[in-house]
């Protein structure tokens, strides 16, 4: 019987750390089934080291296809000279050809390692300074980590994201018809819409994880737990964190991390013996950062000896459970006034005509308030700008019924205080809720600046490498031919492979010609060749704006040492540069 192809198996192969497989797939343009069959055979031959005896029906079983399809697949691999299959009595004998070339991926890995080498020193210097390693730090460093860890991370989180999505689906409520209509339109479950509307963010789950071992000490989830085992998620998070930490030799104990995935974020607060991972959807405000800090610190303070001496005995962790649940509930349920507000509005409706009058009054009041609030907001902003130097704070003001709420950052306690005073003394302000945090703004912007420098340097290194590789390639054309033949096409593909890892690079396509033939003919040929190569690159997916055809200019070619060696040939070379170097 014919089985459907196992997509998961395929994905596994794709995620396998098997550069040879990926190399073959790319080089020979194998389709999914061929790739899967090749992957299976590679495994069975102990990574192409052994010859094996097998049968088409066995291969069919392992690959999950029919026997005749297995036959086709093996023949396809045989034809491409990846492996050799010979009948051997009832069975077939399969052996791989030895691989000669170094694989693209290996080169790439090497290249990445070199890139990291170059900047590692810088990273260390930065680390040595006393920057606030907030979420910003993680975001900035994240792109520098190899793609491997990124993949690993998303793999671990995908299952969690999936689980959360499923749970959101279940959260419908009959009462909320209004949300149900919107839900129909938007495809998001109704209960969720309401919750999301009402709360700017929701704490979905909270993990308390032993730092060293990754064992889950306490956990609470907004809704019933599903099929994904939280103990495993906890281990995975720890592994990811450790990887990041060791890769960048983070020394500080109080590091703060953030991992983004899909709609949710995992915010991490580390304490000496455990770390707390908050899974949050929506947009947590700055205030919430403080809440997390407070919660984690308090949990540590109150349970210090317990968590320090934790030896795997889960019963001993009982005291952690209530606070963990309490925190999640606090940030995932509607505040009670809002629920009551809804109810009282409904009873008003029942009261009939009186209500109409009242509502109009309320409306008038609301309009007055919002007009007044807008006025006050303008006044307070003007007052702040007039009293404090603008570079010392970055705040947002909200005004409700004359009360000003200030959130954001300022550079010192003193500024926070003066800010509060300035707000309070603005005419019309009835109260001030000063939630501005003290943050060393200068330090953060300095850090950002240095990260930017590093990024530029990495780009420069990569560009130099790209250049070096490109300059080894000359696309030669037969006399009087300007179309891409097989050989030219192969080289265009090589070039594509080189530059696709460097999306910022621009390419100059330069043609030269031998000295025979008139200038006019040479020029026309050269420019058509340039156009053909350019079109080939664009067809492979390079943005047209990055590929610049160069006008034919023998003088320029003669004066450029990189091309001087090819003076008597007909061909094309490609040079990479950054966009700014126009």
């Amino acid at each position: 019987m014919r089985k459907e192809i196992d997509i998961r198996a395929l994905k596994r192969i794709d995620e396998l750390d098997n550069p040879y497989l990926r190399h073959f797939v790319r080089r020979h343009n194998l389709d999914d089934r061929e790739a899967l069959a090749l992957g299976v055979l590679m495994e069975q031959t102990d990574h192409m080291r052994l010859a094996i005896r097998t049968s088409y029906s066995m291969i069919a079983r392992d690959v999950g296809v029919s026997t005749s399809e297995a036959y086709r697949l093996v023949q396809a691999l045989h034809r491409r000279r990846i492996l050799e299959s010979r009948t051997d009595g009832e069975l077939i004998r399969i052996a791989f050809y030895p691989i000669k070339e170094t694989v693209d991926e290996i080169r790439l890995a090497y290249k990445n390692a070199r890139r990291l080498d170059v900047v590692e020193g810088d990273l260390r210097t930065i680390k040595g300074r006393d920057y606030l390693p907030r979420a910003d730090l993680f975001d900035d460093i994240y792109p520098l980590m190899g793609s491997l860890i990124a993949r690993k991370m998303s793999e671990a989180l995908r299952s969690l994201a999936h689980y959360i999505d499923k749970r959101l689906e279940a959260a419908t409520s009959l009462r909320l018809w209004r949300y149900r209509v919107r839900s129909r339109i938007s495809g998001v479950p109704a209960g969720e819409l309401m919750l999301r509307d009402t709360l700017p963010f929701i704490v979905e789950e909270l993990f308390i994880i032993e730092k060293k071992s990754g064992i889950l000490m306490a956990h609470h989830s907004r809704k019933a737990e599903g099929e994904v085992d939280r103990d495993l998620v906890s281990g995975m998070l720890t592994a990811i964190r450790d990887f990041v930490k060791t890769s960048f030799k983070k020394k500080r104990e109080d590091e703060v991390d953030e991992i983004a995935y899909g709609e949710a974020r995992i915010l991490i607060r580390a304490e000496p013996y455990f770390y707390a991972a908050f899974v949050v959807t929506g947009n947590p405000d700055i205030e919430f950062n403080l809440e997390m800090d407070r919660f984690a610190l308090e949990l540590h303070r109150a349970n210090r000896s317990l968590v320090r001496s934790f030896n795997g005995d889960m019963d001993s962790l009982e005291p952690l459970r209530a606070p963990v649940r309490g925190f999640v509930e606090r940030f995932s349920t509607l505040p009670s006034e809002e629920r009551e507000g809804g109810a009282s509005l409904r009873s008003l409706k029942r009261a009939g005509a009186v209500v109409a009058v009242l509502l109009i009054c309320l409306l008038g009041l609301a309009i007055y308030h919002s007009w007044n609030d807008a006025r006050i907001r303008k006044l307070t902003i003007a007052r702040l700008a007039g009293t404090l130097p603008v570079h010392m704070y970055d705040v947002e003001l909200k005004v409700g019924r004359g009360v000003v709420t200030a959130t954001g950052m300022a550079s010192s306690e003193d500024i926070v205080r003066r800010l509060g005073d300035a707000l309070a003394s603005t005419p019309g302000v009835k109260g001030v809720d000063n939630r501005v945090l003290v943050v060393d703004i200068e330090r953060i912007s300095r850090f950002r600046g240095e990260m930017e420098t590093i990024r530029k340097r990495m780009d420069a290194v990569l560009l130099a490498q790209t250049r070096e590789e490109l300059e080894k390639i000359v696309i030669r054309f037969p006399i009087n031919v300007a179309e891409l033949g097989k050989e030219q096409d192969f080289l265009v593909k090589r070039i594509y492979e080189i530059i696709r890892h460097h999306p910022a690079a621009h390419l100059d396509v330069v043609a030269f010609a031998d000295k025979t033939g008139s200038f006019e003919i040479n020029k026309s040929l050269a420019e058509r060749r340039v156009a053909a190569v350019r079109a080939g690159l664009i067809a492979r997916g390079i943005e047209p704006s990055r590929v610049h055809p160069f006008p034919f200019d023998p003088a320029l070619i003669e004066s450029d040492p990189r091309m001087a060696a090819h003076l008597d040939e007909r061909g094309i070379m490609i040079f990479a540069r950054m966009a700014e170097e126009e």
């Binding site: 750390d17 495994e43 890995a109 690993k152 592994a239 450790d242 005995d313 889960m314």
Partner: protein, 167 residues
């Protein structure tokens, strides 16, 4: 009592670490080989003298780029299983250095030695002699296993569990 412990499997590429876990946790075996990328974590509960012990099992990748960071993955482990492949003696001589690495990050934590793939050998093996030849220090329990037949796999984990809980 419910107790949770982290344990690690160490050993060269393709010695059967992942197979050992699969046999133990799901009682399955597959001839096909999938490289473990980075870390793979599974969990299994065993009963030991009235207590429930949950093992959080960390399966580490072999000889790839993760080797460097492996040390940090070992942190906080209560025990380790060091695996060698009887059909490739070099995998067994790798064990002493893996034991040192583990001891360094978890001083005093117990470990057991596993020589895997007995089914591939034509005749009997003397585990103690093999162990000596590989330069493995004496003291840790040594097991001969086959993930293919399932031989002895359970005892490996039971023995480590006993050592971890000190019974």
């Amino acid at each position: 009592m419910l107790i949770q412990k982290k344990i690690c499997l160490l050993g060269d590429f393709a010695v059967g670490k992942t197979s050992l876990i699969r046999r133990f946790v799901y009682n399955e075996f597959s001839e096909s080989y999938l490289t473990t990328i980075g870390v793979h974590i599974t969990k299994k509960e065993i009963l030991l003298g009235g207590d429930r012990l949950v093992l959080i099992i960390w399966d580490l990748a072999g000889n790839d780029g993760f080797q460097k960071t492996a040390a940090s993955y070992l942190a906080g482990a209560a025990g380790a299983i060091f695996v060698g492949d009887l059909s490739r003696s070099e995998t067994m001589s790798g064990i002493p250095s893996q034991m040192r690495m583990f001891e360094e990050s978890n001083p005093g934590s117990p470990g057991v030695i596993v020589f895997n793939k007995t089914d591939l050998l034509p005749g009997p093996v003397n585990p103690m002699q093999t162990s000596r030849e590989a330069g493995i220090p004496e003291g840790a329990p040594v097991f001969l296993t086959s993930c293919k037949t399932g031989e002895n796999v359970g005892s490996v984990f039971d023995s480590l569990a006993g050592l971890i809980l000190g019974r």
